[in-house]
Amino acid sequence: MPETAVYVYGIVPADVETDPDARGVRDAGVHVVRQGEIAALVSPLTGEGPLGRPEDLTAHAALLDGAAAEVPVLPLRFGAALADEQAVVDELLSAHHDEFAAAIAELEGKAQYVIKGRYDEAAILSEILAENEQVVQLRQAIQGKPDDATRNERIALGEQINNAIEAKRQADTQAVADVLTRHGVLLNVREPTHEEDAVHIACLSETAKQADLESSVGELARAWEGRVKLRLLGPLAPYDFVVGQSGEQ
């Protein structure tokens, strides 16, 4: 096993230059390897244990997201490494030059933004209790009784609440999607990653229109104040919108 490898973050136009201070995974200096019209953002990787520690993940994301704010970038999924820089040129850049160049051209001036919303638990439960008589009755049935004696009722109550939250998530996600669609952005509705997620959507927007996006999401955030905690992340590298068809599991 060789001592070092080359970690690859993503593909950018060949005219991109890295900041001499740019640091990547394992705090290594980042530079570009160019071939034709495209280049790979890379850093040397020494073989000290497996990749995937929290700081490895955040270093990968920070480097790519920083780049995406400035230039079009095709982010690679976390953990791509090649044997050496010649392999980056031969196996990555030369082998896929035209497709990468075309994809980069499509991404010019655009970056990814992620809208995440999480329900306030007390607020959403109150809302459900106000709307659903069955939930009210089940809650009354468990009140003041020991857990063991009311296990079935508790499960039924929890399931009703879970179903109600799913319905609300669907409606609220649609509401956000409608707002984003008016901005003419490409959307990817993500799966929830928490049972109280209200919204989880990635969109590809022109960075020049970021202020419009912020203002629209800000309006929603104010309308949902106290009910949904809404966050807008970005600009990020367009992870959700680059798809390599071969090699995809």
């Binding site: 196996e91 799966e191 959700d240």
Partner: protein, 132 residues
Amino acid sequence: MTTAIQPAGGGALGRPSASGLADVIDTILDKGLVIDAYVRVSLVGIELLTIDARVVVASVDTYLRFAEAANRLEISQTEPKGLPGLIEDVQRGGARHKAKGALEAAGDKLRDFLGETLTEGEQARRRRQGGD
């Protein structure tokens, strides 16, 4: 292979919590470009840690947690504000904390929204735009 700019059809893998790291994990592990050369990772001897991913599937545990939360909500709404005098002093101190906590939480909420548009250091700069 072809590289298409299109929705990736989000991964169904979920993770707990909502810290910055969770946001990163939601994004970089199951999304982004995967290339043929990617499989050569094993050839250069770099081992990838398996990150424990949690799929959000409604389970009995989830239901019981929701039921407990609904139960607690009821208690906090129906309990009279005053608690037995015996612990009132302690409660008073606690209440101040609580009020402060709520204010801080509100501030966080605002910051969360306003500050979330990450302005990470622009580490890669474009020659034709940034070079002067």
